[in-house]
Symmetry: C2
Subunit: 129 residues, 2 copies
DNA sequence: CTTGACTCTATAGTCACTATAGACTTTATA
DNA sequence: TATAAAGTCTATAGTGACTATAGAGTCAAG
């Protein structure tokens, strides 16, 4: 299949697919006589793997490392484990941040009644303090 | 005070301060004879306001709008209210995403015992599916 | 045979910074 | 007083993970 079809079946934009190729995350595809990229089942799987990793917010550098590890099936997966644990720690941190953030925003939202002027606005006041 | 001192008292890096100025978020400071920026109480307050907004993940374009609104104290603060509500909605969305993310990462982490090889690794398997 | 859809490469833009180079100014030390 | 060190200046490039655009080439249908 050509890049347009791969894009549709995976939901990745065409530019993103080309970008992943450039970054060495997708293996170099064959080309037609007219220089169009040609993909098969393998590319589809590679792309789905990347998509899945990205949906977990795993950065592309780490995705690349995971792909390299996948290609060394006999090695220990301790580093895979570590990578996921780090990712989990990041997510936990971010969640904690967002909770605090949410609390403050809610507090702010409740301090403003729409009839106010900017001058009297509780939101502006709390941002100022 | 000069930019270094402002940087230390606010915790904003020097480059960030200059960046905010360039983007029109900080008012243009006076200069010494040697062309050094000179700041006073006002700049300090402006910068604290921006910092507070940023700590709430409010994008700089919106911070700019808030600053403009602050300077029109007689207008209605409905738009301030709306902006904060949108920000809250964003945060809520992101929290929902992160919850799902965390669940999957935890699931993955628990599917890997460190003694495994990459080949048998539960994490790689679940990323593949 | 031409129109339109698709693809190609190369480049610039996004956001909010961070980092660097190379020059200038000011302060501290010898 | 000379000089070294610290601070500041502007301008530019880099970050991550894309997205958008320009301008050219390819291919299938009418």
């Amino acid at each position: 299949m050509k890049i347009g079809e791969l894009s549709k079946t995976t939901g990745c934009s065409i530019q993103t697919i080309r970008y992943y190729e450039k970054e060495g995350l997708l293996s170099t595809p064959e080309r037609t006589e007219g220089n169009y990229r040609l993909y098969g089942e393998r590319a589809l799987k590679e792309l789905e793997f990347i998509k899945h990793c990205r949906s977990l917010d795993i950065p592309l550098t780490d995705v690349k490392r995971l792909i390299e590890l996948k290609n060394k099936p006999e090695e220990s997966c301790a580093s895979v484990n570590k990578l996921i644990a780090q990712q989990l720690a990041l997510v936990n941190n971010r969640m904690r941040e967002l909770k605090a953030l949410k609390a403050e925003l809610q507090q702010m939202a409740s301090s403003c009644t729409t009839e106010n002027t900017v001058e009297a606005c509780g939101i502006i006041k709390s941002l100022d303090s």
